[in-house]
Symmetry: C2
């Protein structure tokens, strides 16, 4: 479709055209730039153009319109004959928009603009020429610009530019986010009598920023409301619910439409659905979204998996929706093909489990060993932030520690049984399957599991040592232990990404992923921003000399803290796992040769020689004859 914005000089064609094109996400062309230099000279000199002068100019615009698939052109087009020349040979829909207004107002506007070649006194010659087209959409220049745009969108019978299915907390907040970025949304939520009725309509009614969104409860109507290629973001529960929506939705779509699954879907399900959609010619992207409720509204971190072709079709809305680092770099990108997006999100969550656990254990040591109260620990954490350990999670932890109900810390009333939504488990499963020692995320996962055995723990507590000598840990050593444990957690997480990338041929760029995780998501932190610049492209953190040296500055603090906590019968499983890992990582003569010998002894699984590993597998009869 080609849209011509018509009107005399000064009527605001360029302003309206540019903004309209932006809303429609199509190119904008200013007609003035098609004038040959001779015309510009003439007008600048105060001489009105003749029809002959205008012919080449109109033809140049017509030529550009022929080459564009969709575009907005600002061009005075005052006479019918000019307009016929503009649309000559255009075999696509053409829409005309006429900006009309009071001559005095236009004159005033013209006088306000600088550097334009058109002298004010030529306005009258233009008004004289004007033949108002009956077929144009007519707009008054004195309307507020937003009104003009809304009116035009409506009058142009433009379909909506983006669809979203599932108006839960995340879906609603992402809708508000997208709407604020200028997208015209169609919102669909299923109708479940007595439970989910008018959900989309309520959201539209509740949030002013959704006023241009259309609510639906019938999927075919929702689909029909969207411009093609359609862009539809699914924000429904992962698993069976997503399959159910896919089964209903896919047959309604057209070749080239793009479905984005924004749920916490297992990456293998994404691969399966991509094949399913591809059979119908529909693109399916696995879109990992992190940032919680607030991130959804203010800019989440977005990890996309699928084809570059599909990503190109949705890059603009997704990148506008995403968080930005330094106001420039969007925390959104295509990370790889297939299920790569959801895999990366899953690893993010596994690392998040460990980051949370490390904070909880730091708090635990400070509270039990040092007898600090939550306010004091919050104050201490504040100082950690200024020493380079600031992160989203440490920030909210400070707030949590300070939250009181009456005289009591609310935290102290919370049951210590931690839930989970499954992605941490998936990450540990992936590590186990891919041969990656991701011991921090697994320790954090299992710590949550152990916490759910509330009754057993209570019974067992009577067996705990009665008298424990409380001994302080130096608070700064707790910070240092926390730092190295975090580096190890990030090492393991990136190792898991690197191994998956190799196993699945994804070509993941670790640095790009660190960039995406630098803002918007739960993992965002100073450390992650550093990684965005400094994560090695091959291998992972600790294979890099600088990172290893950095980590080892904190090694003795980790030994000390873990030892101190263990002495005092405190469980610090994630710190302990970090310590075991780094010691194992630096060990060239580990006792794992004994494991190999045992395996060879009972199962003839063979072993290799330390001196010459490439010499091939050896089997020995280890038992006396």
């Amino acid at each position: 479709m080609i849209i011509f914005i018509l009107g005399v000089s000064g009527s605001g064609k360029t302003t309206v055209g540019k903004l309209l094109a932006e809303r429609l996400e199509i190119p904008f062309f200013d007609g003035d730039v098609f004038h040959p230099a001779s015309n510009v000279e003439k007008m600048r000199g105060g001489t009105p153009l003749t029809d002959e002068d205008r012919e080449g100019w109109l033809d140049a615009i017509n030529e550009a319109a022929q080459q564009a698939e969709r575009a907005v052109f600002a061009c005075s087009g005052l006479k019918e004959s000019y307009r016929q020349r503009l649309r000559r040979g255009l075999n696509k829909p053409v829409k005309w928009v006429m900006l009309e207004g009071d001559a005095a107002l236009i004159k005033q506007r013209m006088m306000g603009r600088e550097g334009h070649f058109m002298p004010v006194h030529l306005l009258q010659s233009q008004l004289d020429l004007l033949e108002v087209p009956t077929y144009a959409i007519r707009v008054k220049v004195h309307w507020p610009i937003e009104t003009v745009l809304d009116y035009l969108i409506e009058q142009l019978h433009m379909k909506q530019s983006f669809g979203l299915i599932g108006l839960g907390i995340m879906g609603t907040n992402l809708s508000r986010n997208l709407s604020q970025k200028g997208f015209r949304l169609s919102l669909y939520n299923r109708f479940v009598p007595g439970q989910e009725e008018g959900v989309a309509a309520s959201a539209v009614a509740r949030y002013p920023e959704l006023s241009s969104a259309l609510p639906f409860e019938q999927l075919p109507d929702f689909v029909a409301s969207l411009q093609t290629p359609r862009r539809i973001l699914l924000m429904v529960e992962a698993g069976a619910a997503t399959d159910a929506v896919a089964a209903e939705l896919l047959p309604l779509l057209s070749q080239g439409d793009v479905v984005m699954d924004g749920g916490n879907t297992h990456y293998s399900d994404t691969v399966r659905r991509q094949k399913w959609a591809a059979e119908l010619g529909v693109h399916w992207l696995g879109v990992g979204i992190s940032g919680g409720e607030m991130g959804a509204l203010e800019g989440p971190s977005i990890m996309v998996g699928g084809t570059p072709e599909a990503y190109q079709l949705v890059a603009r809305p997704l990148e506008l929706m995403a968080a930005r680092v330094g106001e420039i770099m969007p925390c959104c990108d295509l990370v790889g093909p297939g299920g790569a997006g959801h895999f990366v999100k899953m690893v993010h969550n596994g690392m998040e489990y460990a980051e949370m656990q490390l904070i909880a254990e730091s708090y635990f040591m400070l509270r039990r060993c040092n007898q600090l109260d939550p306010d004091a620990i919050a104050a201490l954490f504040k100082t950690w932030e200024s020493r380079g350990d600031d992160s989203y999670l440490l920030g909210i932890t400070r707030q949590i520690l300070q939250k009181k109900e009456g005289d009591e810390w609310l935290l102290d009333k919370v049951l210590d049984a931690a839930g989970n939504k499954g992605t941490g488990s998936w990450a540990t499963v992936a590590a186990a399957e891919l041969g990656v020692p991701a011991t921090l995320m697994s320790s954090a996962l299992f710590a949550r599991y152990l916490s759910t055995f509330v009754a057993e723990r209570k019974r067992a507590s009577s067996f705990a040592p009665r008298t424990i000598n409380r001994e302080e840990v130096t608070p700064d050593k707790v910070r240092r232990a926390y730092r190295i444990a975090r580096i190890i957690n990030h090492h393991q997480g990136f190792q898991l990404l690197a191994s998956a990338s190799e196993a699945y041929g994804w070509n993941l760029e670790l640095r790009k992923i660190a960039q995406i995780w630098s803002g918007g998501c739960i993992l965002q932190s100073r450390l992650m921003k550093e990684l965005a610049d400094r994560v090695p492209q091959k291998g992972t953190l600790l294979t890099d000399r600088e990172w290893m040296e950095h980590a080892m500055e904190y090694h003795s603090a980790l030994i000390e803290c873990v030892g101190m906590a263990q002495q005092q019968a405190l469980a610090v499983p994630c710190h302990a796992a970090a310590l075991s890992f780094i010691q194992g990582y630096m060990e060239v003569n580990s006792p794992m040769n004994l494991i190999q010998a045992q395996r060879d002894c009972f199962g003839a699984h063979t072993y290799r020689l330390k001196k010459n590993p490439d010499a091939g597998p050896i089997h020995t009869n280890w038992l006396p004859d």
Copy 2:
């Protein structure tokens, strides 16, 4: 089929009949017991029976033969008229076996037996009566009994009683084991030109105990050689290879046949194949087999999953093949339906990883901290065995530590990169999926994974602390730490079984599983034998007061050893995980409430109140307004 063993008194009918019935696995009936008391009295008195005397007796045997489906009867059946009376109305195949011999030899035998009612002088009256049936299989009484049986089996055209597919190390040793227990085997191995040719025939030729086995390279011939219901044990590689064999085998089988998959198959694959086989009316059992090569030959531990109906058909060969504890209790049983057998085997292997790792870490501490050499450590481990820590794994470890090549310990030449075959990974995956904190098996798995990063470890070793103060750990504390870590490993393993049992409705009996694991398998140990008597039927080890008290006797030793190792930069991940677990297990005020608060803060995941957990989930806005 009914088999009558005929012959005069003293010809050995009972002996031959009993052994033949045992080989054929069908019931045996001694004809003598069907005599009415009056007949017995008469014979005891030295008076030969008349034909009239014999009528009721023959009818009683005939009645029993009518009711039996298959059976062997020992019955003199000297005259044709008697035999006609015996087979009257039997509408199933009847086979006759006549034992013939020298009168003097028979007389001598009769004189040797005690308490029998038949006086020796009646022998002649029997010989006088004898009408040798031309249709009988005739056997000489002076043949060795094994020759008699082999000849009869051959003459009876009996099909083979058990089939085995896959003559790898495990398959071959299981065949030898079964053959020694009296089963007539058919052995099938695929034909792969240049790689696997005549594999089954070679095994038969190589091992004398397989002389009665028939080798095959054509699956249809193999199947046709087996008596129905067929019993076929698959010993092929888990995964695609098993599916390939199943696809070829299942269509050849008949309703009621039983296939036993003895590979290290994932339990979900077993469930899938059970459905597949059931559609064809074939039973499919998932059979976990542990014990390595030697166990396969001398008696492994066998964990069966499937229907009781199918298990009944294979219980005899499997239980005869299995290890025995105290010469009585076979280490084999049906543990539950569906994939339960393979699941139990998988957990066995996960626990095995941890047991191996704990030994390796104990060795590591003794060697590094105490500077003991492998011989000294072997001697120390010997003393551990006499203190109640004896196990199969500790036993082979002692042998491994003492193995030398020239003046060097062979162990010191072995590369410390540990492999795995996948079941340990599956066990960790199952724990992650089922919400069970199985931290010892996962630590052991990840320790193996970390060990494979040989080049990275070498590079990183240059960053290790240069000067370490070596300090001895008391060897007995190492033993005590090992003891509690093992108890925790067994607690976690049984917890995993209990959780799977509940999740899948398997009704696993933990005590029965401990019994199966008491012999034959890699996990067999004194501790496991104790568990076979003392594992709580509900809950797991540490929920039991006695086990918890027992464990806590060793708690301080674990703290001390882990602390000492960590101080000296030694990685003891499995011991450290055990320590973290037991401390977390006794903690009623863990910092996991902070995790819940964080989750509620960023994701509105809610929390519960410590005071009143049943009050339902609560959501709080934790951030300042």
